[in-house]
Structure formats: structure tokens, C-alpha cells
Symmetry: C2
Subunit: 345 residues, 2 copies
């Protein structure tokens, strides 16, 4: 239902642009990006958050679906701008938006002109996604009470995710032993934005009680951190065919992750030297990536992160046992906790 709403919105935007004689590339690039897949985790959590308040059974009403769609549109904004900053080549198994738009203008005169235009146009596609996320929210036909409850959550989420991305940028290429910094990035960049805020937004739409809201946070923060820790493992060990991303991009870029921080803490002199040489090397080879993976395993860092994930999943499951949610919502959140922490994509 979220996808149908996104499709309709997109189609309406394309019709308006066409009627005004405006180029279709920007909205088409955004539409292609949204259609290429993604887990739709944030919309799902938004709808689940709405169910936790237990107001109604069955399908979520249209305004809830539209707010959920707005969160997915916001996520598109984040990923499109992130991919520019990381200069990632692929996402969801396809060229990233800036690469696709550069390819579209390949014939353009001037050295690097197509790449520059691709990047600039992708900045605009991201801007459009952020503006349209807002428009979806504004036109969701919410009551004043719902708007008043939801807008501060969305505003906070946006600021958090920008700060999280900045922390990520600052540490990329400067990976070190500091686990706390890596966890803080996970918290800002993922835990609140991927889990806590979508659940809170859904709950706010249903006028959830303070008890429901705090139970959601108790569940969402550990699960969000676990989600990011799993992402870090997939960024080093994942199967590109499954994740849709290059399997050693995080290693080549030198992302500062908990996994890497723990490996550096535990490495002997030879291993540490190898990590410092290989991690963040723009010319990292498959052999180099394999050597890094060996060290991540041999130092026990991989196993330690698996332990952290399991610990967080247990905390989240424990929070669910105490939570005042309807049984069906609890069961769905329990299943989601398992799925997001054991996933391979």
C-alpha cells in the first residue's frame, strides 16, 4: 500500500511537470530509485507503531499509509545524498542516482562535464525527495492533533540523521579504536532514524499513551543499534549479489565501525599494520579485502560484534515482554527484531 501511494504521488508529479513542459529526468530518477526495491523498513515500523497503540485492528487508514510513504521518501533523500558523499557506484543492485544521471548526459562536451552534471542533478533529486517527503506529510489529511504530535518527531529525526551522517564523514578514512564514537554514529545515523522515530511517528498518529511511547523507545534503540552493527558486518562480509552494494566499499572507504574499532583494539602489531595499510586504501583489491576479513575474524572482532547484536536483540525482546502493546503488534515486533538482526541483505 505504501508503494501504491508512492507510485501515485510520483505519477502525479510527472504529469504536472509534463504539463508545464518541465524535464522528466529528476522525478524519473527518483521514481526509478524508489521502484528498485529497499526493505521498506521505516514504513513498516510506522504502521507497526500505529498498531502498538491498539486503537484499531486491520489495515492502517490512508493517512497512516501516507505518512509511512513520506518516511520512505525521506529515506530516499538520505541514501541519494549519502551515495554522492561516498561516491558509491551501486545501490540496490543498480547504478546510484548520480552515476545514472551522469550516464544520461554522457555525450556532454567538456572534461568531467557529465560527471559534474550527474552529481549536481543528484543533489537536486535528493532535495526534491526531502521536499516531497514533506509534501506527503502535509497532504496526508492528518487532524490538527496528529500534525501537532508528528511534526516535532519528524523535525528531530531530520536533524539527527544529518548530524549522524556528518559524524560518519568525519571519521571515514580515520578509523580508530574508539568504540564509543562508532556507537554514537550508529545511534544518530541509524537507531533513531531507522527504528525509533518511525515507530514513534506511527504511535503518535494513534495518540499513543506515554507508556506505549516509552516502551517503543526501550525496544527501538537496541534494535536500531543491532541493525547498524549487522550492516557493518554486511559491509565487510556481505554478498554483493544479496546486498546490492559492493562488498568491500566500506573497507575501501575506511568507514569507522564498531567492528573495525574492536579489530584494531585486539590486533597484534602485524595485524594492526595491515589494517592501517589496507583499510581506506582507494585501490583496495579483492585480496586486500580478504586479508582484512581474515583479521576481523582472527582477532575475534567479528564474534564480539555478533555478541553485541545478540545482547541488543535480547534487550529488545525483554522490552517487548513488558510492553503494553496488543499481542499481534508484539508478535510482529518480535519477528522483526529477529529478521533485522539476522538478515543477509
Amino acid at each position: 500500500m505504501v508503494d501504491a501511494r508512492l507510485d501515485d504521488f510520483q505519477a502525479a508529479k510527472e504529469r504536472t511537470a509534463a504539463a508545464q513542459g518541465l524535464p522528466a529526468e529528476l522525478s524519473r530518477a527518483l521514481g526509478d530509485f524508489l521502484a528498485a526495491g529497499g526493505k521498506r523498513l521505516r514504513p513498516l515500523l510506522c504502521v507497526l507503531g500505529w498498531h502498538t497503540a491498539g486503537r484499531a485492528r486491520g489495515q492502517a487508514p490512508a493517512p497512516v499509509v501516507q505518512v509511512a510513504a513520506s518516511l520512505e521518501m525521506f529515506h530516499a533523500f538520505c541514501l541519494i545524498h549519502d551515495d554522492i558523499m561516498d561516491d558509491s557506484a551501486t545501490r540496490r543492485g543498480r547504478p546510484t542516482v548520480h552515476r545514472a544521471l551522469a550516464a544520461l548526459h554522457q555525450g556532454r562536451a567538456g572534461r568531467g562535464a557529465a560527471d559534474r552534471l550527474g552529481t549536481s542533478a543528484a543533489i537536486l533529486v535528493g532535495d526534491l525527495a526531502l521536499a516531497w517527503a514533506d509534501e506527503l506529510l502535509h497532504t496526508a489529511d492528518l487532524t490538527s492533533a496528529q500534525l501537532t504530535a508528528v511534526l516535532p518527531l519528524v523535525d528531530a529525526m531530520r536533524t539527527e540523521v544529518v548530524y549522524g551522517q556528518y559524524l560518519d564523514l568525519l571519521t571515514t578514512g580515520h578509523t580508530g579504536e574508539d568504540v564509543e564514537v562508532a556507537l554514537r554514529i550508529a545511534r544518530y545515523k541509524t537507531a533513531t532514524y531507522t527504528c525509533e522515530r518511525p515507530l514513534q511517528v506511527g504511535a503518535a498518529l494513534a495518540g499513543a499513551s506515554a507508556a506505549v511511547r516509552s516502551a517503543l523507545s526501550a525496544y527501538a534503540l537496541p534494535i536500531g543499534e543491532a541493525f547498524q552493527l549487522r550492516d557493518d558486518i554486511l559491509g565487510a562480509f556481505g554478498d554483493p549479489a544479496a546486498t546490492g552494494k559492493s562488498s568491500w566499499e566500506d573497507l575501501r572507504d575506511g568507514k569507522h565501525t564498531v567492528l573495525m574499532a574492536l579489530a584494531l583494539q585486539r590486533a597484534d602489531a602485524v595485524q594492526r599494520e595491515a589494517l592501517h595499510t589496507l583499510v581506506g586504501d582507494p585501490a583496495l583489491s579483492e585480496e586486500g579485502a580478504a586479508r582484512i576479513r581474515d583479521i576481523l575474524t582472527a582477532t575475534g572482532a567479528l564474534q564480539a560484534v555478533e555478541g553485541m547484536i545478540a545482547h541488543r536483540r535480547a534487550r529488545a525482546q525483554h522490552a517487548l515482554e513488558q510492553a503494553p502493546f496488543p499481542p499481534a503488534a508484539t508478535a510482529a515486533l518480535r519477528q522483526l527484531a529477529d529478521a533485522t538482526t539476522t538478515r543477509t541483505t
Copy 2:
């Protein structure tokens, strides 16, 4: 008053970030940008729009001021991202945000690492400005009726400005004789966003009648186009000390403007050859820029654009004569029409 509101908002954001141990660079870069000046034209028009509905005399109430501040914050977003796309070096007489942030990280290891980080961080500063423009709007303490009236205008404005910027990108470096395309860029990139939408937003806050709203559009669109035509002239002939921008950046980048389109239409073979060689040349010298200016003058293109500006100013003044605004609002709009079309900065 708009500046005081922006300062307060900024200070609150910095306090929150500091309390959470988050870096101050992003909000500081945005604050410095806002404090560096700018004409505050959009907030002024928003407040004037509110006055045109004639509900009250004297100072605008706090919610109107905050919405006006939100438009200035949105403008900061546009300029910061535009400067990245154009790779402009200076704005408002200071380094642009991406250049300032690159300088901040100058010591960073790796070739081009500081420049890349500066650009990435500036994308985030722009994103933050867009998100915060929204937050200012959401927290302006508007009534439901005001929100319902204002949000569609703001949503439309955002989409328009992104499309306008894309049209600008597509034609930059490919300047030609097409005056209609150049005027369309002026309309999307400037006329609606700089003039019509801010006036409409202010009027909507005051619950303006349909007669007031259509009179505002009749005034705003010609003035907005004239504003951009003046900008094009300043981009070629302006005094950098007054404009705060390099005087031949538009020429070096090959911006497709009405001025240039007319010059190409009217040029003889020698002049056309010179324009094709010089305009858009990344290594354009002061002598080359002077030669372009000579051609813009000799072909009569400069004078023709001055004529178009005068014609549009007259249309706007004529619209004011018919408009159902209070006399003080009409007088202010009349003065503004003169100021924005004869300005030198």
C-alpha cells in the same frame, strides 16, 4: 526582527548540539552564512504580503515573522547547494560554505580529501537549512487555517525552485539564442520563488481574499522576472565589491541568460565566434570578460534587456494601481519594484 528570530533559532540549535556532544561546525557554518548578509528580500515580501490583506497595521505578529524567517532559511538552503553545483568561490563577499568547510579541514590526509569533505559537509549544511526551514514553519504557532493555506504554497515553491535550478544546470555551458528558455529559467528559479510565493505566503497568513491574491501575482511575476534580468546584467557587468560575487563567474560558467541569448541573436559572425570561444571558458581572463561585455553592449543586447526590465517594472506598477491593497502596502511595493530593478548589488 527576522534576523533576531534566526539568531535565536540558531543559538538554540547550537545549545542542543553541544548538550549532546555533537560537533558545532554544521550549524555554525549555516549561522555564519546567514549572518553574512543578504537582502532579506523574501522575508520582506512575506511581511508585505501579510500587509496587503489589510488586516492590521503596525508590526507583523510573531508567527508571521517566523514564517518570514523560514523563507530566509529556505533561501540559504538554495544558495548553499547552488554554490556547490556552480563551484562558486565567494558569496556575500566571503568564501562559500563548501570552500569554508574545506578550509576548516585543510590538514586532512589524502589528496583532495579536504575538498571532498568540504563539499559533502556543505551538502549536509544545505540539507539542514531545508529541514530547519520546515521546522521554523512547523513551530510558528500557526492556526490550522493558516497552516492549511500556507503549506501548499511552500510545497509548490520548493518543487519550482528545484526544477528551475535543473533547467539552469542543463543550459549552463550550452548558451544559445533561445530567449524563451532563458525566461523560463528566470520564472522558475526566481520569479515565483523570490517574489510571488513569499508575497502569497504572507497574504495567506492574513487570510487574503482571491482578489488580493490575484493582484499579488499580477505584480509579482513581472517584478520577479525583472529581478532576474537585473541579476543577469550584474552577473556580467556588476562590481564584485558591491555584489560579493566574482564579476565574471556567470560568463566563465556560460550561464544561459536572456542577455546572452539576445547577444547571440544579434551578433555578427566575428562577434558570434568570439562569444562561442569565450563564454563558458573555464580559463576566461579579465580581458576575455571585457571583450564579452563589449559585445553585449555593441549588439544592443544590454540595452534590450534594460528595456525588458523597464517594461516589466511598468507592468508591475500598473498592476499596483488596480490592486485592492491598503495605501501603505501599495507604496511599499511600488518602492520595492524600483529598488529591485535598479539595484547594483
